[in-house]
Symmetry: C3
Subunit: 381 residues, 3 copies
Amino acid sequence: MRAPRHRAELTEVTRGTPMGELLRRYWHPIGLVGDAGEVPHKVRALGEDLILFRDAKGCAGLLHARCCHRGTTLYYGKVEEKGLRCCYHGWLFDTQGHCLEQPCEPQGGLFKDKVRQPWYPLEERYGLIFAYMGPLTKKPVLPRYDCLETMDAGEFVEADDTSLGGGGPAIIPCNWLQHYENIVDPFHVPVLHGSFSGPQFTTMMASMPQVSFETSPRGVLVRSTRRQEDGKVFARVTEAGLPTLRVVPNPRVAEFARVESIGWVLPIDDTSFRIYVAGRVKQQGDIDRMRSKFNGKFWWDMTEEEHQRFPGDYEAQVGQGPITVHSEEHFGQSDRGILMLRRVLQAELEAVAAGRDPIGVSFDREAPSVVFEAGNFMREA
Amino acid sequence: MRAPRHRAELTEVTRGTPMGELLRRYWHPIGLVGDAGEVPHKVRALGEDLILFRDAKGCAGLLHARCCHRGTTLYYGKVEEKGLRCCYHGWLFDTQGHCLEQPCEPQGGLFKDKVRQPWYPLEERYGLIFAYMGPLTKKPVLPRYDCLETMDAGEFVEADDTSLGGGGPAIIPCNWLQHYENIVDPFHVPVLHGSFSGPQFTTMMASMPQVSFETSPRGVLVRSTRRQEDGKVFARVTEAGLPTLRVVPNPRVAEFARVESIGWVLPIDDTSFRIYVAGRVKQQGDIDRMRSKFNGKFWWDMTEEEHQRFPGDYEAQVGQGPITVHSEEHFGQSDRGILMLRRVLQAELEAVAAGRDPIGVSFDREAPSVVFEAGNFMREA
Amino acid sequence: MRAPRHRAELTEVTRGTPMGELLRRYWHPIGLVGDAGEVPHKVRALGEDLILFRDAKGCAGLLHARCCHRGTTLYYGKVEEKGLRCCYHGWLFDTQGHCLEQPCEPQGGLFKDKVRQPWYPLEERYGLIFAYMGPLTKKPVLPRYDCLETMDAGEFVEADDTSLGGGGPAIIPCNWLQHYENIVDPFHVPVLHGSFSGPQFTTMMASMPQVSFETSPRGVLVRSTRRQEDGKVFARVTEAGLPTLRVVPNPRVAEFARVESIGWVLPIDDTSFRIYVAGRVKQQGDIDRMRSKFNGKFWWDMTEEEHQRFPGDYEAQVGQGPITVHSEEHFGQSDRGILMLRRVLQAELEAVAAGRDPIGVSFDREAPSVVFEAGNFMREA
């Protein structure tokens, strides 16, 4: 009898682990644009404790929380014109970790050029702040996405940090892969969101689909089709793009169109994650209005028995445990998307270990926006 | 100086440990009959997370909590006519773990006969649900006990799950053996329940007894006698029966008679336990009315200082720590019952390791009820 | 890349560790005189759980919490005329751990001379109870300190157990050395207590001092001077005396005089500490009136953002983590006091390992009181 175990190489995210290094080759959203300000803001991402701030020039910075001098957290630091000053001995760091002042040292610090506070590059886009936490020589271009660049009339992009799509609170206490795999699992929809708690979405989503899975240039693509009573075919295309992108059209199928939002699953650490979303909307608050209700209630207003009777993605995924026990799984035909996604991830782990760049990274500043096929579509049969 | 340590082989209960395997050769109560219903009910026993339910035929089932498909807890499952359905992909399991449906799979599941959800046999008796968590080929008969079968006029059996006899709340945060040993420790009664907090029971129990210990066919038997002022002898017989039976007559000595109830100490895991009780009563609620008060209050209403001034079994046993440190104990004559019980347990660990059946198990469905000698008796000298 | 690590030999305090053994060669305050009474009082010191009480003769006792019989905590014991009686089987221990009674044993205990409850010698002085937790053959004299012995007119000694000087609550959740090192770090004062949250003390303390560090017969001495506008020199002398003494004059500089109080940093365990203080006062409550306010509020009344904007010693030291990561530190000239203190501690670890007595211990009952140079002084230039 072998002891039950999880696949550490696919799930664990700290620096130096295989997946930790793969994830660090991509940009990740770590906050809303408004999170960077004049009060230091805690960020935890990929198992690292970080401090986000914005200097007087408007430049956002993300530094390791522990001051490189004596280890005090910069959370209690003071944001100044040129950077963030540690509360303990006043070392001042700019957004790139340069030490500008050491006020307790002779002549304001003779060795301040010899120390550097660990820092990460940031870029702001779509209302989000993206960080690159990998080796600087490997820093790719932050991609642009056509679905957030090309607007229909009256549309604009809105960002959200409440883990919309996670089915529960903003911080979700299980491994990120349990959620990420769910994106390529269209079969759970008519069960979990249909016969159990539903239809949570539209009745159109409540029947069992015909599904094909294929690899995309960025990950795994899922095509689900459902023949309608009028003979037309409702086609839904979903993609899991590396590293953690949820390219999932609105499951309420408000319209038949290309995907309207992207979600990024941020691993906080090995046993918790959160989701950032950016989407095209016509009214402020539209994204938040996509939030699911269960039995007419928001998740946090439900009783324990209501959580049992109307479970959603949160219950199903957190119910797999902090990290699911992969050695005890039994897969079927309907799980092919998950197996395909794990193979893609495994291949990219090997690519990085072999010194290659993983899929989906680009170093070309002139590269066109990424166009996703994802969307809800109604087709003649 | 050797590091302090506990006796793992006597105390730890998970699958694969010596005591875990010994305990798994017996039936254990894991709930009240009413706990199995149409809402999945969490059970934790011997370190395993389980889900209890009852199908539409009235048959109770106890399944591993993690669905054998993808590991989601069946706590969020739906109880249906034929079994329990997982919320995530709808696999349906009967009370014996057979997979009846895999609705996301082609043709309803072509390999469903090849998977089996781990499950345990149940039997219901005395208001309790008993589970057998050991190898099926070794499953003994669930014993009948004369003290719960042979009624006096107007009596019936009532069950309780509040850890009556534990001296505190329903879930007690220390190793089960600390409580189990207490059963063969009659000397603590005049101290802990007498000069400290008492007399909690009757004054008849408040004096130091004459005690003899002997092994019984099921464990260890304790005979305590106290000569009364009128020359008669108050004789009290108590038994610790394997695996975890408390055969303890009412310490309030309401009458001089055979034992009126049995308690089963269920190890929840290595560092917590609970007690199920079944007893003969004449009025509904009689068992709960046996609950001890301290300084006129229930345990949960006491202040911290009252717990200090009026300690009971909970304080004494939890006060030994999550698992007591056996290497630091110093035994006396009055501890012979505890040493005897440990030797009995040790012998049965060896029996099981050698492939023999432990004491007290029977495979004979026609076996007569077990008769305990335990009780409070008044005898002429 | 080496894994980040802390210096275990300098920080960890349990029995058998290098620092644990060094600390156990000194007396430590473990309570106020009033903590020892007729209700058993929990003490945790150097990672050990202990029970403090006072017998009817007025003698204070400090015993290991676990009864040497069966391990039940003596916290639920009863204080009697001759000692502390365990609640479980009534063994009675005097203040030196002698077992006086074993009421459940034949003839009151035939082997009670063969067991001994672990105990520690106590002495009461300056309103505090001091314990010696090391080998009895190495027990030094409890030192007298001139600053608490020689009174000015109207003065008396008052004791405090609220971790005054720690900048927060009574129990501070980080390693003791993070606080102890702070004593020899005068440069943080104008930053943390000045430009950040201040001036918390006087404006006189708000400027950057000239500092010299030197070893003293007991540890490390810090001389800070600040030239005043009138040409005089404000000289402040501070000392960190082994094992954990804070010899720190009032930072509010109420008067120019020798130090008025001593603080002892008690390591509760590896990741928490508390501070006991004894000081000369003229009014009852004077010590507590020295407590710092931040933005006009006590620490426990501040909002999260106020803690960020007005950090003090608590935030700076707890902000280094449960045990700081020494391998990631970068030292400057201003940190020479800390490096000197670590070298002194390291040397004394080696002294003890080599069988020598560490500095500052004396076995001479007639030795004069220890005189500290510490104080705030105003000198002509």
